[in-house]
Subunit: 339 residues, 2 copies
DNA sequence: CTGAAAGCGCTTACAG
DNA sequence: CTGAAAGCGCTTACAG
C-alpha cells in the first residue's frame, strides 16, 4: 500500500490534477464535471485509500483548519474540561485543535503564541498569564482571530469570555455572613490576574458593606509555586488569631483541596468550627467530607462560546454581538457551610 | 507590521533565499556563511519579527514536527494528566501535540487517525478503543511511527505502554481477602478492552485461589454510556444478596465516584459495612469520606515513555529495547478498607 | 466538461 | 562563501 497522490490518481484515470482535486473537494457539480467522471475519481480515491496532504492544502489555501489553544495547564481539570468542550465544538466544524500549556509562565506563553502562529493556526483561544499584553495587542493589530478565555486584559479590547468573578465571590461571602459567620478568611494565590483580583474585590466589597472595613490578617496570598507547603502555616495562623476564623473562602479548587487537607490534619470540624467555600471545584468535591460548597463555572458555555466567536472571526463575520462575554457562576450549596 | 517572508528578507539584504534559509535554520556555519552575513540576517529577521511558515517547511521537508494524540476523552482527569506529560516531554523535543478525543467510538477513532495522518503528524500516540485493529495494523505496515498507550491490542505487535492490570487487581483483591472481607464484588464497565478484561481476570484469579470458584452474582458489568443510572440498582442488588457484599472493587475512577455516591445515599458505612478499592482515582480521593484506597497508575512514566519511544521511531532509531512496556501500579492504602 | 500552469513559502542538492 | 532552480503536494483562476 504505497502512498498515493493527486497526480497518481490523475495519471491512472487519464485526467488532470485539476479535475481530480475539484471532485475530491466536492466542487465537481459546480464545475459541471460529469457524474461518471466524478464517480470514477471518488471510487479510485477510496479504493486506493487516498489521503490528501493537509500541509499542502493549507499552504495553497492559506488556511490550516486548525485552531490553537493555549492554557496554563492541561492537567488541571478545569482547563481539561474547557479543552474537551472546545475540541468537541471545533471538531463539529471541521477544525482540529492544537494545544499547549504555558504553566503560568509569560515567556512560555509568548513562545507558544509564536509557534502557533507559525504553524498557521487559523485562530487562537488563550487562557493567558495576563503578562503578555504586547503580544496579544500585536495579534489583534494584525487582525489575527483571537479570543481570550477565563482571563482577560482589562486594558485591551480583544474578545473575551470570562466569568463574573466579583459578584460570584461577593455573593458567596454574603452567603457566609448570612449564616452568621463573622470571621471569614479569604485564601488566594499571588497571581497577577484580573480574575483573581476581582475575586478578592468581591470579598472586600461584601465585608465592607457589613463591617465598614476589611481586616488584612484575614486575607492570605500564597505563592502559586509553593502554595501547598505554605498552606499549613497559613491555616494555623488563621486559626490562632485573637478572633478565630470561622469560615474560609478559597479562590481556586487546588487551594481548597490543599487547605482541606490541612484542616483535616488539624482535626478541625467542618462546618462546625470553620465553614468552607471553594471557587471552582474538583470532580469529587461532592463526595468529600463534608461535601464542599462551590462556585461553579459554566465550562461548557465557555468552551462553546469561545469556539463560536473564534470561528466567526475566522470567517470574517465580525458580528458585533457577544464579543465580550461575562458569564454568571452558580453557588452550589453543600454541607461545608453547615445550614 | 506586515507579514514578512524569506524572499522579503533576501531582497532587502541583497542575498538569496538559500542563504537566508540556511542561516535561520542554524546551518550557517556548516555552510561557511560569513559571520557578518549571519548576523545581518538574524538581526533583520528578529527586527521584522519573521515567523517561518511551518506548513511550507513541513511540506518541503516531509516532516511536521507534530505528534498526534488520540484518547477517549481529554476531560477525563486520567487522560488529561497523560496528555499533560506527553505535551511537556514533546515540547522539550520541539514537537507540538495535536489531540482529539474518540469518545470510545471506533468510527470516530478511525476518522481521527485518518485526519491526523493527512495532517502529516510525524507519529501517533493512541489510547485506542481497541476496535480498530485493521487501521492500527495498516499504520504499522506503512511503518507509521505509533505507540499505543493505556490500551493495547494483544493480537497486534505495535509498540505499547500499559499497566499490569491483572496483577494490580489480583493484589488488591488479596489485600481485601487478607483483611477478612469475604464477599467481594467487582464492579466494572462493559467495554471490549483488554485492560478491563485483565482487571476482571485478576479478581477472578485471586478469588479462585481462595474459594475455588467465583460467584457470578458478585460481578457487575455496567453500560459505559449509562453506568451512572444503572449504579443504584446494581449496588442495591449487591447489598441485598443472601450473602451481603462486604467489599467492592471498582474498575475505574468514575465508577468509584458514582458508586460511592450511591453508597452514601443508602447510608452505608464505609469501611465498616463495605470496604472500597478503586482502580485509578480522582484528584480528591484522599479527601473523600472515607479516603479511598486506590490503585495508582504511573501516569508520568506512561506519558514520558510514550514520547520517548515514539520519537525514537520517528528518527528511525528502531531501538529494540522497551517497545512493549508493562508498568507496575501502586496500591495506595487509605481508610476505605478499614485496617 | 476538462487541462495547463502558476503559486502557496519553504528546503536543499548542485554548481560555481 | 553564495545563488539559481527544482521540488514538496496541493488549489484555483483562466482558457478553451
Amino acid at each position: 500500500m504505497k502512498k498515493i497522490y493527486l497526480k497518481d490518481i490523475a495519471k491512472s484515470l487519464n485526467l488532470s490534477k485539476t479535475t481530480v482535486s475539484l471532485v475530491l473537494n466536492e466542487k465537481g457539480n459546480e464545475n459541471k464535471i460529469s457524474v461518471t467522471t466524478q464517480k470514477r475519481i471518488k471510487n479510485y480515491a477510496k479504493k486506493h485509500n487516498y489521503v490528501p496532504n493537509h500541509l499542502a492544502r493549507g499552504l495553497s489555501r492559506g488556511k490550516s483548519d486548525t485552531i490553537g489553544l493555549i492554557i496554563p495547564n492541561i492537567s488541571d481539570i478545569f482547563y481539561a474540561q474547557i479543552a474537551g468542550h472546545i475540541e468537541k465544538k471545533a471538531t463539529n466544524y471541521g477544525y482540529t485543535v492544537v494545544f499547549s500549556s504555558s504553566h503560568e509562565n509569560a515567556k512560555n506563553e509568548q513562545k507558544l503564541i509564536r509557534s502557533m502562529v507559525n504553524r498557521q493556526v487559523d485562530g487562537l483561544i488563550i487562557a493567558s498569564t495576563q503578562q503578555n499584553l504586547k503580544n496579544i495587542r500585536q495579534l489583534r493589530q494584525n487582525k489575527f482571530p483571537l479570543v481570550l478565555i477565563d482571563r482577560h486584559y482589562p486594558e485591551d479590547s480583544s474578545n473575551y469570555i470570562i466569568v463574573n468573578n466579583f459578584i460570584s465571590v461577593k455573593n458567596a461571602t454574603n452567603y457566609l455572613l448570612g449564616l452568621g459567620r463573622r470571621h471569614i478568611a479569604f485564601i488566594t494565590v499571588k497571581l497577577e490576574l484580573e480574575a483573581i483580583r476581582q475575586r478578592l474585590l468581591g470579598y472586600h466589597q461584601a465585608i465592607k458593606e457589613v463591617y465598614g472595613d476589611v481586616k488584612q490578617e484575614l486575607i492570605v496570598e500564597l505563592n502559586p509555586k509553593n502554595y501547598d507547603r505554605e498552606m499549613k502555616a497559613a491555616i494555623e495562623k488563621l486559626l490562632n488569631q485573637s478572633n478565630k476564623v470561622d469560615a474560609m473562602i478559597f479562590s481556586t479548587h487546588y487551594l481548597t483541596a490543599s487547605g482541606l487537607r490541612e484542616l483535616k490534619n488539624l482535626k478541625i470540624n467542618i462546618p462546625e468550627e470553620v465553614a468552607l467555600v471553594s471557587f471552582d471545584e474538583l470532580s469529587a468535591f461532592d463526595l468529600v467530607d463534608p461535601p464542599i460548597t462551590s462556585i461553579m463555572q459554566p465550562v461548557e458555555d465557555m468552551g462553546n462560546l469561545a469556539v463560536e466567536i473564534l470561528l466567526d472571526e475566522i470567517s470574517g463575520l465580525n458580528i458585533k454581538k457577544h464579543k465580550k462575554v461575562v458569564l454568571e457562576t452558580e453557588l452550589i450549596i453543600r454541607k461545608s457551610c453547615g445550614a
